[in-house]
């Protein structure tokens, strides 16, 4: 659903790095270089970020549509 807060194996906080990682990669940086830049050195933590997918982003549009419908009916 959401980025895990901690690395499953070592317990380091990686939740705050996923958004920075996607931002760097979208700017054209290689994923391995982006991880190095963020200070994610161990491969247990690196796979947490590389293998993540934000499912919640696929569900949010439905909630938004429901909200928009409610506003329309209200007016």
């Amino acid at each position: 659903m959401l980025t895990p807060v901690r690395c499953f194996s070592c317990g380091a906080v990686i939740g705050d790095k996923y958004e920075k990682f996607t931002m760097l990669v979208s700017k054209g940086m290689e994923p391995d270089k982006a991880l190095d830049k963020l200070g994610v050195r161990r491969y247990c933590c690196r796979r947490m970020i590389l293998g993540n997918f934000e499912v919640v982003d696929k569900l949010l549009p439905y909630a938004e549509a429901v909200e928009a419908l409610g506003e329309k009916e209200g007016s």
Binding site: M1, L2, T3, V5, R6, C7, C10, G11, A12, V13, G15, D16, Y18, E19, R42, V56, D57, L59, L60, A63, E64, E67, G70
Partner: protein, 264 residues
């Protein structure tokens, strides 16, 4: 337990002290004792973390339980005054509403009501996402506990003990030197003036990849009774404090054992 004629005197050397990380070499010390320090650091040093959550309102897509679990994993700065207060309970609140559009609620919005010295170490951990019109209201209670109860209370991520490596180059003009430099994942070797040399001996992890390439030219051994203890703090306490607290807790427990044995 030293070799014959050897002076039994402990020596400690600071190898690395970065933000949140600490690495020391302990000479003339036994592996079992070094490992005891490591295990005490991981499972005995107390920290604060969210343990109970009261969900007052949650109209988001994320289930209450998932939010509670995520809140528990957020590391909290633990002031030293709480370390001796076993039953301490501190209330924190999370109150967020998506007024304009879809937004992410970050750990920075989790605020302590009772003590401003207790705060989330990272303010940028996404806790949940809210679509327009959704809101969340949570009362969370932070408690003091240690890593043996739940690993969210552990003050360290990395905590390792390894023997001090001894890397020797036997034949520094081997024709396989380029391969040796390339095969080492920790960049222990480098080529200096056409000769193979050791750049960082302590970085060696005993993977023996260089030995597989050229067994006759390099030699890797473990230094007798010398260990490297490295820890990486998550942030609840400073790395140096974590190490000292670990040692302190062993002393406390051994003292207690001593009292019990004397009372027999």
């Amino acid at each position: 337990m030293g070799e014959e004629g050897e002076e039994l005197k402990l020596a400690v050397e600071l190898l690395e002290s970065q933000k949140g990380g600490l690495s020391i070499r302990i000479d003339k010390y036994d592996l079992n004792y070094a490992n005891a320090i490591r295990r005490y650091i991981m499972s005995e040093v107390p920290t604060l973390a969210i343990e109970d959550v009261v969900v007052v309102e949650n109209s988001s897509l994320i289930y209450d339980e998932i939010i509670a679990h995520r809140l528990g994993l957020v590391p909290l700065k633990t002031p030293k005054k709480y370390l001796e207060q076993a039953g301490v309970q501190l209330m924190m609140v999370l109150d967020a509403k998506a007024e304009e559009g879809t937004r992410t609620v970050y750990s920075g919005e989790l605020v302590s009501v009772e003590d401003k010295e207790v705060y989330p170490i990272s303010t940028e951990i996404p806790l949940l996402k809210l679509a327009k019109g959704q809101s969340i209201k949570i009362e969370a209670y932070a408690r003091l506990s240690s890593g043996k109860r739940h690993s969210k209370f552990s003050p360290v991520s990395k905590a390792t003990v390894k023997p001090s490596p001894l890397v020797n180059v036997i034949n520094d003009s081997t024709d396989k030197m380029k391969e040796i430099v390339e095969v080492c994942p920790r960049n222990v070797f480098y080529v200096k003036d056409g000769k193979l040399a050791v750049a960082d001996e302590d970085a060696c992890t005993f993977c023996m990849e260089c030995i597989k390439v050229d067994p006759a030219s390099v030699e890797i051994k473990e230094k007798y009774n010398s260990y490297i203890l490295s820890i990486e703090s998550i942030g609840q306490h400073e790395a140096r404090d974590v190490l000292m607290m670990g040692i302190d807790l062993i002393q406390r427990d051994l003292g207690e054992l001593m009292e019990k044995v004397m009372a027999l």
